[in-house]
């Protein structure tokens, strides 16, 4: 048994809420979409059945248009997180899920997670018809991305920094700095009761975040607001979409459906990702669709396409992650932003700190491409930091100091998964 399993299990068992796992006990009291997918990847080592339920639950909150919402407010409580159910009023939006949810989405990691959960115990998965249940919902989710979020370039667009999962990435700086609108109502910040304000987005950023969210909501979350001021193509979001299409192809085979459309879709998205390649930075970057400009920052999001076997710039990405900008093996895990950039901040959320979910994605990519020594080193780094600091949300890349909250669910889940599969001696 992996040495981390009992400790990781304690975090995940404590953060379980009957049919889903909260990201952390205090700071995040609801079910988050991509958190759930990452959490299921770890839960499968504790209970394949519980991991299936985690995904069943997020899939059960699917809207009629196929979207999987960013947050599901199962508890009916609306006092622990802002913006909550009373901000979104999803019950007033036609086609929304029966349970209260946010209207935005998060990166499509779910098919990837569903396949891994199935593989943890194929017999139990088959007995419970897990994939038969998940597959059509996952197909509709990806259809939503293509039909409602797809643009001429073939990539899905995000309409809010939160949809990237990397809320305050420097990718969004120019857009946010240029905008004059802000949310005018009171901005509640219950998050600051649980985390250091220096490590969280600022009030100014939050006002702009809420402006975008309110405008999207007030347009019925219909993705038809053509002048919507925040529209980006993000390399991690689309890289994960392509990767999940590959997973969906495998799932299709397992449920006797046709895998070919998913393989073709993965190829199409992978090819379209090339439009986000920055020769200047030597990595994939985000594009502001409205201005047409690439956002010239090296971030961990730009490394995520390493997960795609068909990507054209593998060698450049490997050089980048090993070089002075990300210093793989020399700093904590993989920094969220270029260590040499003036915009780098070792403590502030997605502007520098190293996160466990992106470390897991890069470890997966390295492992699959045969760089097993580096993958194992990264996996051990995740395990050691998780155990030493009580499963922190993220780390200062230089000092390895924990930041954000602790007993963070995906930290426990992914450190457990990495140590079990990648870091385990073979």
């Amino acid at each position: 048994m992996s040495a981390i399993k009992p400790s990781a299990a304690r975090v995940l068992l404590r953060n379980w809420r009957g049919s889903y796992t909260v990201p952390a006990g205090g700071l995040y009291p609801h079910q988050w979409s991509w958190d759930s997918a990452f959490i299921a990847v770890g839960l499968r080592h504790l209970s394949p059945r519980r991991a299936q339920l985690e995904l069943d639950t997020i899939l059960s909150a699917q809207w009629e248009d196929g979207r999987l919402p960013q947050i599901v407010f199962h508890s009916g409580r609306d006092d622990g997180y802002s913006p909550g159910a009373s901000f979104w009023h999803s019950e007033q939006i036609p086609g929304a899920a029966p349970v209260a949810t946010a209207g935005l989405i998060q990166p499509p990691t779910h098919a990837l997670a569903a396949l891994l959960v199935h593989e943890a115990d194929p017999a139990e998965s088959q007995r419970r018809r897990f994939l038969e249940r998940a597959y059509p919902r996952l197909v509709r989710w990806h259809d939503y991305l293509r039909n409602r979020r797809g643009g001429r370039g073939g990539l899905a667009r995000i309409v809010h920094p939160w949809e990237s999962g990397m809320d305050n990435s420097p990718f969004w700086d120019a857009c946010l700095q240029a905008m004059t609108e802000t949310y005018t109502a009171l901005i509640p910040r219950p998050d600051l009761l649980h985390a250091d304000a220096d490590h969280r987005p600022s009030d100014g950023e939050y006002g702009k975040y809420l402006y975008f969210a309110a405008r999207y909501r007030d347009h019925g979350c219909d993705d038809a607001d053509e002048s919507f001021p925040f529209q980006f193509e993000d390399p991690a979001f689309n890289g994960l979409w392509a990767r999940s299409e590959l997973a969906l192809a495998t799932i299709a085979t397992l449920v006797a459906a046709d895998p070919l459309p998913h393989r073709l879709e993965a190829c199409r998205i992978t090819e379209a990702l090339e439009t986000l390649w920055s020769t200047e930075r030597g990595c994939y970057v985000a594009r502001d669709i409205l201005s047409g400009t690439l956002q010239q920052y090296r971030t961990v999001a730009g490394l995520v396409p390493l997960l795609l076997p068909g990507i054209r710039h593998t060698r450049e990405l490997l050089d980048l992650v090993r070089g002075p900008h990300f210093r793989l093996g020399e700093v904590a895990m993989v920094p969220s932003h270029d260590l040499t950039a003036v915009t780098f901040d070792p403590s502030r959320y997605w502007r520098g700190p190293s996160w466990f979910n992106t470390a897991w994605l890069i470890a997966e990519a390295l492992y699959e491409r045969g760089f097993t020594t580096e993958a194992e080193q990264l996996s051990r780094g995740m395990e050691n930091a998780a155990l030493e600091h009580d499963f922190p949300e993220y780390l200062d890349p230089h000092s390895f100091a924990p930041r954000g909250t602790t007993r963070f669910s995906w930290t426990a889940a992914l450190a457990l998964d990495a140590s079990t599969r990648i870091g385990a001696p073979r």
């Binding site: 299990a9 304690r10 068992l13 404590r14 379980w16 080592h45 504790l46 209970s47 519980r50 115990d121």
Partner: protein, 266 residues
């Protein structure tokens, strides 16, 4: 080293504990959980038990098998239950065992069945349990063994139904020799989140009993044994896990399926 898996003795064929132990080993178990009857019957088995111990039979725990318990409404029966348990704890001490388990009561009263209101006040219930557990805790401490308090489901007892209820009593008593035996069947009825409940009282868990959602042997119901195994690891429980179940078929057919199922996850 994973947990030892033991089987209660009445399921095992054989004319002696040594023979029963051989069968237990052949079926994949690691040892036997004894059944300790009243009227000093358990103490009367000492020659048999000593011989088995000397022959290498593993029998770390005893599950009380009586018609009255420490929470009985009748004062004489309560006192007798305490006397019998004290004797049984001494027997286990002599055998080098771990401990003996008891519920507050069993089959005496349920708040879910008529007449719904027990003939004793909650305050008296509490005082009686604290007194009995405190005295037995002192005895167990002196003997170097442990008493395990078992929460039963609401249809079988009304005194102690949940792990948190048992833990509160144990904290109040303050004896390190009184711990909880958690039974997966009862937890499945009483705990909204059995894994979370076990985690909450982890320092007080002294013994585990496993049976499935329908009280049959593990694997015959719908409990999540993977989750059970992960929870056992999460609470750091290293001791034996006893199978206290009804059986879904012939013992020799169904019981050998249990150790491989549990070991898959432990």
């Amino acid at each position: 080293m994973t947990n030892a898996i033991t089987l209660q003795e009445h399921h095992l064929p054989g004319s002696s504990l040594e023979e029963k132990f051989d069968v237990a080993l052949a079926w994949g178990f690691d040892g036997i959980e004894l059944r300790s009857r009243g009227d000093f019957h358990f103490a009367s088995r000492l020659p048999e038990l000593r011989r088995a111990r000397d022959a290498g039979v593993i029998m770390p725990t005893a599950c009380v098998e009586m018609s009255h318990f420490i929470g009985a409404f009748d004062a004489e029966l309560r006192e007798d239950a305490i006397t019998q348990l004290a004797s049984q704890l001494s027997v286990m001490a002599e055998l080098g065992g771990v401990g003996v388990m008891t519920p507050g009561s069993y089959g005496m009263f349920s708040r879910r069945l008529p007449p719904f209101e027990p003939p004793r006040s909650p305050e008296s219930d509490h005082r009686i349990l604290v007194d009995a557990l405190g005295r037995l805790g002192e005895h167990a401490e002196r003997e170097g063994v442990e008493l395990f308090l078992e929460p039963l489901n609401r249809y079988e007892d009304y005194l102690v139904n949940t792990l948190s209820g048992a833990a509160a009593l144990i904290v109040e008593i303050g004896s390190p020799a009184v711990l909880i035996v958690a039974d997966t069947y009862h937890m499945n009825i009483e705990e909204a989140d059995p894994a979370g409940a076990l985690l909450e009282v982890a320092p007080h868990i002294g013994h585990l009993q496993a049976s499935d959602s329908n009280r049959l042997e593990p694997g015959a119901g719908h409990l999540d044994w993977a989750l059970f195994g992960a929870t056992v690891a999460a609470i750091g429980y290293k001791r034996s896990i006893a199978i206290e179940s009804r059986l879904s078929g012939e013992a020799a057919t169904v019981l050998p399926t249990v150790p491989p199922l549990l070991r898959r996850y432990l």
